[in-house]
Amino acid sequence: MSNKKEDFNRRDFISSAGGSLAAMAAMMQAMEGRAQESEGKDTTRRTDDSTPPVKMGLIGYGPHGRDIARNLAQLPSAPLVAVSDNYGAMLRRSKREHPKSKGYENYQDLLKDKNVEGVIVATAPHDHKQIVIDALKAGKHVYCEAPLAHTLDDARAITQAALANPKQNFQPGLHFRSEPQRHFMFPFMRAGAIGKAVHARTQWHKKTSWRRVSPNATREKAINWRLNKEISPGLAGEIGMHQADLVNHLLKLTPVAVNGFGNTVQWRDGRQVPDTVNLVYEYENGFSLTQELTLSNSFDGEYEVMHGTNSAVMLRGTQAWMYKEADAPLIGWEVYARKMPHYGSPGVVLAAGATTLGKSGKKLYQESTFTQSPLFYSLEAFAYNSHQVKSAVEDFLDTFGEADADTLADYIADQLGETNSLLPAANAVQGYQANVIALKANEAVNTGKRIEITEKDLTV
């Protein structure tokens, strides 16, 4: 897909968005227009009940698979029609919880189900490769949870398979890429609103063991793949990857090396994977990113902060704030924007889908309307984009006949990517690169060494 949208610069920003008060007011008016237009509708979604549905099959009904199923239940555009899990108890549970969905013990049988148009792969990463390749071969659109794989070879094989099948939509589960609040920040950050990017910091604090129990010893070993060093991407891969990818994406940066440190502090239950991890990513331009991840303490939760020479921007849940330096130049619109104090510093609220235009009977300010989870928006994008890809491919074949994979890929990029016809989502190559960076970080933690991230590593 084209990088056109990623080449956003300050001039684009000023000409298209909030560079002037008039432009900002117009932007707010448009937002309010949408709010009015959507009265009585579910404003937490970007799609509505008229969005053509893509029927989904879910492979893997563990905790994350169940979370996916719950989210799909709120998305009319992504009805769950089939579930597969090779563990009987999970399959029975899926039938109880989603009685309208067909159950399959073997994922191959789900792939043979012609009613299934899109497949969501929610198994452990070390099982992804074969399932994704088989699903693409079966002609399904594929959503593969991130990380795509626990090894670089598997991640590359998955990405190559996705690129070889442009008739189908492939989306890696980098949820933040689809989440409206973070996407709202994209032109803002790319326009250099924070000045020169200096440093970023992400935090994920949660008190949870990651250990799961089962009366069956074999099953228990299988479901605790996160604690097995051989197949686990670790905290860096399972959690840190999403936040690191967000920072790299918003600031258009790629790390050249990563240093890691990890230890098992809290959960000394024989696990081989650290429960507390610190990472420092190095970049060519002197920028750095540090990540703190722990399963031992939940204080202050999770967030991302990007520090620049003019301001810092913090993203937390469905909200974001900008903290300006005293000597930063005035942009203009921030004077009128809502402020929230943060330890004495006034934070300018940056909220997707919010409005500040006062009208009779309306609040001057509304919080972001996009209050669902990043996973929800990622699945919404998958369903919507799969339909777009399917329609575009059908029209191409009806109009011009068959074509090779490269021609079709160019067509999809041109017809959908360049025309803003897709909801924001990561593509296969972006999923691969985020995966590589995360696996290198996990390697740094496991070896205690500085690990380089080369151009060759990042090339599919």
Binding site: Q29, E37, S391, D395, F396, D398, D410, T419, N420
Partner: protein, 191 residues
């Protein structure tokens, strides 16, 4: 016998066979320009299919050219760059039921030829939203190697095809879309 053979050769030479030129992806473009109470708008697509069966040598001099052809444009591939506007437009064009815009070419008259460009009057029909109307328009045809490029534009009224000009809501009131639009195209076909 010799006379018959000679006449056959003359007739064969005079009736040069028509050639079929087919649309190829990536070379063509169709644009619909419109206006509204808020701003001018534009939708476009590169997905323009079809064929033109024409005696290309006859295009090089004025006169009637034996030709037939059809042009198809999938409605849902008309894009404005704004998802919401596309949805409104596709719905107004009754896209789920009538998926294609179709031009049928039945007559072609070369008026003049200058610098390899034939200025012609094309006749046929156009079908939008399932409603077919006769259409005559001026087109310019250029042949370059195996390629035949047909360019032209024509005004149309949405209401002529049963399309109610969309009127989306804004806080300040509804947008009023003007009925008349202009369709411009550059349709490239290859032998």
């Amino acid at each position: 016998m010799k006379k018959i053979l000679f006449l056959s050769l003359v007739l064969f030479a005079l009736s040069a066979p028509a050639e079929v030129f087919k649309a190829k992806f990536g070379l063509s473009k169709l644009i619909i320009d419109g206006d509204s109470s808020v701003h001018k708008w534009k939708v476009e697509t590169k997905v323009i299919g079809g064929f033109l069966d024409v005696d290309a040598t006859a295009l090089k001099k004025p006169g009637t050219v034996s030709s037939k052809g059809s042009v198809i444009v999938p409605v849902r591939q008309l894009k404005s760059g704004k998802k919401r506007m596309d949805e409104v437009m596709h719905a107004a064009m009754n896209e789920p039921k009538h998926k294609l815009i179709k031009f049928t070419i039945s007559t072609l008259e070369v008026k003049s030829v200058k610098d390899g460009v034939s200025s012609c009057t094309g006749g046929g029909t156009i079908q939008i939203n399932g409603i077919t109307k006769p259409l005559t328009m001026e087109v310019k045809i250029t042949q370059t190697g195996d390629k035949l490029t047909v360019e032209g534009h024509t005004p149309l009224k949405m209401t002529s095809f049963g399309i109610k000009p969309p009127s989306p809501k804004l806080p300040t009131g509804n947008i009023v879309t003007k009925d008349e639009v202009k369709i411009s195209f550059s349709w490239v076909t290859v032998k």
